[in-house]
């Protein structure tokens, strides 16, 4: 049941307890208790919002593969995730150390952003790719 609650909440965390309970064939107070327990155990870390970036004038959706000096990883990661335009950040190993998904207005603002990311202490290399579409 926890998995099914989480499946619903990762797509829409605004669902009222009653609606989640109805879809799962349970009752609202059980759902509420389970969600609180999932938060307490750190399974649900926090809630975020999804934003219609186009309406903010952000036309370019870009992914940056970032390579980071391992001795400076923690500080560099904090600074990267604090960037306003960054919508998602993943810590990976294989191709790059961090993948960022971000939105920006135009090529000029992208160039500025890539430059400022490049100058973060510990960042070794930044490889931009365009996101054509999010399929899922």
């Amino acid at each position: 049941m926890d998995y099914r609650i989480i499946d619903l909440l990762t797509y829409d965390a605004d669902l009222p307890y009653e609606e989640i309970a109805r879809r799962l064939g349970s009752n609202a107070s059980t759902v509420r208790k389970r969600i609180l327990a999932l938060k307490r155990r750190g399974v649900i870390r926090k809630f975020m919002v999804e934003v219609d970036e186009g309406s903010l004038g952000q036309k370019l959706n870009v992914s940056l593969g970032v390579d980071v000096d391992p001795t400076k990883f923690i500080d560099a990661a904090k600074r990267l995730t604090a960037i306003l335009e960054v919508a998602m950040a993943f810590h990976t190993s294989g191709g790059h150390d961090i993948f960022l998904v971000l939105w920006t207005k135009d090529r000029e603002s992208l160039a500025k952003l890539v430059n400022s990311i490049n100058s973060i202490d510990g960042v070794i290399n930044v490889i931009p790719s365009f996101i054509v579409e999010r399929l899922r």
Binding site: Y3, A13, V49, M88, S93, G94, F130
Partner: protein
């Protein structure tokens, strides 16, 4: 069109949408009722689309996580994209132009199930290369 104050509100909500209005108002140095009105307006205009839970995949029991970079034959890009988006274990699928054609985030319970998903991606008609990146964590 949203102004600078709206951008600051959105910036905070993107990091944490679980704060009380009082706490948000304090952090943004805004009046609480102004903040409330602005958030309601951003939602009714559809600028804030929805609220999502950020889940710790490992604590949820998804021990194996990968970000696959997938390359496809240019003539099969659309079909490959559809097939990737239909993988039940895929959390995110992005169609790209740049280093690779697709980025796919996969969560599975264990390494065996991950290997099966990776194999199933490899045999999709039109896929020419699958690069596996271990996914430690989502940072934002």
């Amino acid at each position: 069109m949203p102004d600078g104050t709206d951008s600051r509100i959105i910036g905070l909500l993107r990091q944490n949408a679980d704060l009380s209005y009082t706490e948000m108002a304090r952090r943004l140095r805004l009046n609480e009722s102004t903040l409330r009105k602005r958030i309601i307006a951003l939602r009714s205009k559809g600028i804030i689309r929805r609220r999502l839970a950020d889940v710790n995949a490992e604590r949820l029991g998804y021990k194996s996580r990968m970000m696959l970079a997938v390359d496809a034959e240019p003539s099969k890009l659309l079909d490959v994209g559809k097939r990737l988006a239909a993988i039940p274990q895929a959390r995110f699928v992005f169609a790209m132009s740049g280093e690779s054609d697709f980025l796919v985030v996969i969560w599975t319970r264990d390494n065996d199930s991950m290997a099966k998903v990776v194999e199933s991606v490899g045999v999709i008609e039109g896929v020419v290369k699958v690069t596996q990146n271990f996914l430690w964590d989502r940072l934002k």
